[in-house]
């Protein structure tokens, strides 16, 4: 973990929360104290934490192909437990695929 903080803005709930360097998007959302993203396995398998990134840079770890298809990945769909923001991020925590 570094001192860097990235601001994450969720355009579904209207809430914004900080994400520390090296922290997963899901952890940061959970730490904000609001239920912005559903928490499941925290291991990229169950798909409960699926969100769409609308803008910003990020890295992802292994995500279940059953939960995020290649086409979806291209459109910014990620599993938040496997996503590390690399800068400010705009997300949509709920949408037609996980509402």
């Amino acid at each position: 973990m570094s001192d860097i903080e990235h601001l994450v803005t969720d355009h579904f709930s209207g809430h914004a929360f900080p994400c520390r360097g090296g922290e997963t998007l899901l952890n940061a959302a959970a730490r904000s104290g609001r239920q912005i993203i559903r928490v499941g396995c925290r291991a990229g398998g169950c798909g409960l934490c699926k969100v769409q990134v609308l803008g910003g840079r990020y890295d992802t770890g292994k995500m279940s192909r059953a939960q995020v298809s290649e086409a979806e990945e291209v459109r910014g769909f990620v599993l938040a437990c496997r996503t590390l923001p690399a800068g400010a991020l705009e997300i949509l925590s709920q949408n037609e695929t996980n509402a």
Binding site: R38, C41, G45, C46, L48, K62, S64, A66
Partner: protein
């Protein structure tokens, strides 16, 4: 009626990162690694198990369970059950001996809830790990992590619970030990082919073919606490427990493997003889049936599946 199905024998678990999975199942859960095959699959077992392996890890791009295999008493039983499975309407496939190293031929079949099962009669027997079969000590030294005794059972989610109930009771000779009913609808069923409280269980769910958990047996409530301590020490994603289920009365801890497959370690619970009546829970008491102490349902426990 007993149809010659002895016990749960193996599972093949899909994982997304083999090194992380081996660390989890071997060093954290405490299974013993017994083999690696040419396809890159890793074979493990609980130390008390007599056959060479019970857990096979296969690396791919999505988690879940490839199949759950049951050992039957003989090749004659295997042949007759293969015929009965076909007559029932299952898609039946013969897997030749050696597709899994050290395992005899398998009869693979699908089920109304979309899960794949297997029967087999032969697997290389290596005996309890670390102990001789003559004058053995109480337990072997050198076990890791939670030191689980054995792979015990799976719990699956799927739609046609009644169809899979027929398959397991009428074709395979399992008994219903416990159920949850919502009016006339059975929404959970626990089935056994032994004296154990369950050897397999199913919960009604919109999506077919899903895995809720793979379970490993431990001996005592103290072991539950120790398992939960290890989950924290290793920073494993924790789900729930130590606690007790109303269903089965088993004592449990749940957590996730590095690919998001849920694991259970459990101890205790009821037993079954074929003259027992099934235990029934009603849907309005579902909270207590699942979590006997909090008596509250938990979204993650019910909906995180692979």
């Amino acid at each position: 009626m007993n149809k010659g199905v002895m016990r749960p024998g193996h599972v093949q678990i899909r994982v997304m990162d083999m090194a992380a999975a081996v660390h989890h199942y071997r060093d954290v859960v405490g299974l013993v690694e017994t083999h690696r095959d040419a396809a890159g699959r890793v074979y493990l077992k609980g130390w008390t198990e007599s056959d060479k392996f019970s857990v096979v890890l296969r690396e791919t791009d999505q988690p879940g369970l490839d199949f759950n295999g049951f050992k039957v008493v003989s090749n004659e039983v295997l042949d007759s059950l293969a015929g009965e499975l076909k007559a029932f309407g299952c898609k039946v496939e013969e897997i030749p001996a050696g597709e899994l190293d050290d395992c005899g031929r398998r009869v693979r079949f699908d089920s109304p809830t979309g899960h794949i099962f297997e029967l087999y009669a032969e697997k290389t027997r290596t005996g309890k790990w670390g102990l001789p079969s003559v004058n053995p000590e109480a337990w072997p030294r050198g076990l890791a992590g939670m030191k689980v005794n054995r792979f015990d059972h799976c719990l699956f989610y799927g739609g046609d619970l009644d169809g899979t109930f027929d398959l397991f009771t009428s074709v395979l000779g399992f008994h219903l030990t416990e159920q949850v009913v919502d009016g006339d609808l059975r929404i959970a069923q626990f089935l056994t082919c032994s004296m154990k409280e369950h050897d397999i269980a199913f919960i009604r769910h919109a999506e077919d073919g899903k895995l809720h958990h793979v379970s490993f047996e431990l001996e005592t409530w103290e072991d539950m606490l120790r398992a939960a301590d290890i989950i924290t020490m290793e920073d494993v994603p924790h789900d729930i427990g130590p606690t007790r289920h109303g269903l089965t009365h088993g004592q449990v801890v749940y957590f996730f493997d590095p690919s998001g497959n849920r694991n259970e370690v459990f101890c205790g619970g009821d037993y079954f003889y074929p003259d027992h009546e099934p235990v029934t829970w009603t849907a309005d008491k579902l909270g207590k049936a699942i979590f006997y102490h909090s008596r509250e349902l938990n979204d993650r426990f019910l909906s995180a599946l692979t």
